[in-house]
Amino acid sequence: MALDDRKTDFTFVGTRPNRPDGLDKVTGRAKFGADMSAPGMLHGAILRSPHAHARIVKIDTSKAEALKDVKAVVTRADFADVPFKPGLAGEFWNVLENVMAGEKALYDGHAVAAVAATSALAARDALKLIEVEYEVLPHVTDVDKAMAPDAPVIREGAADYSVPEGMHPNVVRYHESGHGDVDAGFAEADLVLEDSFVTEATHQGYIEPHACLGLLGNDGKGELWCTTQGHWIAQKTCAALLGIETSQLRVTASEIGGGFGGKTTVFIEPVALALSRKANRPVKLVMTRSEVFRATGPTASASMDIKIGMKNDGTITAACGEFRLQGGAFPGAPGDMTAMCAFAAYNLTNVKQIGYDVMANRPKQAAYRAPGAPMGAFAVESVIDEMCNKLGLDPIEVRLKNAAHEGTKASYGPRYERIGLVETLEAAKAHPHYSAPLKPGQGRGVSCGFWFNHGGETSVTLALSEDGSAQLMVGTPDIGGSRASMALMAAEVLGIPYENIRVTVADTATLGYNDVSHGSRVTYASGLATIKAARHAVEKLCERAAAKWDIPVEAVKWENGCAVPSGPNAGDFDPMPLADITAKMGRTGGPISGHFEATPEGAGVSFGTHIVDAEVDPETGKTTITRYTVIQDAGKAIHPTYVEGQFQGGAAQGIGWALNEEYIYGEDGRLQNSIFLDYRIPVASDLPMIDTVIVEVPNPGHPFGVRGVGETGIVPPLAAIANAVSNAAGVRMKQLPMSPPRILAALKDNG
């Protein structure tokens, strides 16, 4: 049989059918994290530290336990008592420490105890009866202050081998990379510009708070229903923290109400299971919005210094960056990612980047859409824009002059395969938006953005039914319509209608391991796995046809949903449709399924270019985005409408980050804006329509050419908007968010 390895001519891929789960999602019947209940269910609630940094001297739970409605109370002691798997260290230990505080509360909102009771109100009432004695310690929440010699130490010994001698113990990881001789490069430059930039932490802001329903018995067997980007990581982590075997915990992913990276770890799930084990009843735990803000995944905050040298014609001769990222009271701030991505869009002879991962008394940072990349792009692309202004050069021409392309040695090391940056820049230059006139008071900004994309461990099973329909089991939760793209890819290979494929997000007991839905990997990796699983099934279909026709399997090929002889010499047989083969499969060798279990490695890096127009009101400092265009390389858009949706969603989140969103801490180290009224994400009336251009430069690492599209869209906006605002206001904005008070202050400073 002949199966083309690379496909360029498509029947289903590239069309825009309705998503398979559309009906469920518009009628309210889709079950999200908080929508599940169980017989005998209890409700949990978590007590959280009101202090940014405090030693926990004593916890007295006796009054809460005395209430008749209360069935279980847990503290860290209930985790420490379990027989840990050997080697509960590294990230598992960090997650445990974050899930339930040990000796110290490390940030405002850190969990210290939890209750399960017969109602949610009773559980919340019981929390008030738990007495915690704290010894308040000095705290620090700012990244630069956390690195200063007099900063309070969050945790001794958290730094790894990478950190140079003499740094504060709060600096826990260090990254340095680059190539060439930056000093020589700067000496060649006609203009050298150095500047510093700051971004605040933002939250992923998914509308669905964390929610789960856990059941665990003293036999070590459990069930967990939760909203998560990855139920296998939830399974593995919960099992480790509770001292049970991974396979004995079956985890089912609910429909997920947004994640953006923030649901790639666990927070309440181990607590629900610990409460359940103690009460011997199912326990439901649902976070409030305030808990989501105080205790889950904000992104890192950043402080950055950039130095770039440029010739008068726009050629960049050298680039240097230092990126200090604060990721809360645990290691993990993506200083390395920020550093590696910052200059990745450019073909540079001399480049050097340094990244720091710094701890402070804030919640443990979690991934947020291209984690680390937007901050670096903001700093670097702002400097490039300023240099274009100083040298009187067109910002797209300068980017084209320096753009990375196939064969370029990336700033972070490897040489690029086929990439689409130049194509996005050419499309931007040709787009009517770029030449449209601006009104007085408006400014235009552009920026490029880069993200690695990811493959990750992936399992997929495709099983054919006797009537010729197919059930596809994937392990990556569907965050934004991925069931549709999976069904399209399976239909493409099998040659049966899209509607005949039922896509299910399987639970951990029914499919092999899958990494989380992150790294823009779902359409790439689960898609590749779907294609390979479908091809595996097609091989078997061809074998059945070959047996029936009594010809070698090599003489059979698969075409338009039918087995056909591969050529005139193979014999003269009518095409045998898939449904004819499956109708008889029980008698011709048994069920036909296809599988894929591997770690796809060819994710293919991704680039985008954004154009944005902004209008600044000099009276109030308020910025209005008047026009926005996203141009990004998707490799191959499987379902173009959902690709557009990813582009638009990334841009909208970037607009929020650039203009409004920030974690605001008081002098006391407590979060001041832990509800949506005070932490203002963009609403419908804040935004214009967001235009999109899908560039398709096929990824050599995917059978259909797919590149992930989810994350890159949030990389350019911070810089593109900062450039537009700076050009509109006539003053360079170096701190995000560019909220009205900051813009007014900048205008005032500028006279």
């Binding site: 309705n18 999602k25 509308i207 429909e255 963009p682």
Partner: protein
Amino acid sequence: MSKLHVTTTVNGDEVDFLCDPRETLLDCLRDKLNLTGAKEGCGTGDCGACSVTVDGRLVCSCLMLGAEAEGKTIETVEGIADGDVLHPLQQKFIEHAALQCGICTPGILVAAKSLLEKNPNPTEEETRYWLAGNLCRCTGYDKIIRAVMETAEELREAS
């Protein structure tokens, strides 16, 4: 604390439940009546995921007590479709991919339906301001606004 007995009409059905005086209408819809279509995204009336109509008025059900539902007529996302026929807004949302994760969708559909009942010909700006109380983190609103306005146009042509 003694519970209150509440009788009310939800999506045309007369229903009753017992609730704690502190429980919200959203709690009662979800936990007492198993109508989990309305979602709690914030509990403070900022996100609109819990939007329902009470006697025809659009409200955040997280800001209203369950006890206040006595004698009222409530419509939720579960009541938008007519049997097996989707409301044109529901159909258009699917066709336009006006949802990604779908958590905000029930509230946005209830709010959009309420808009079109009051104003069959909204401008883009009117649509954006009407839906400003319904947060969506996935879509950037573009496809939502287009879906609502296109539905409005089709409903006008049909009437």
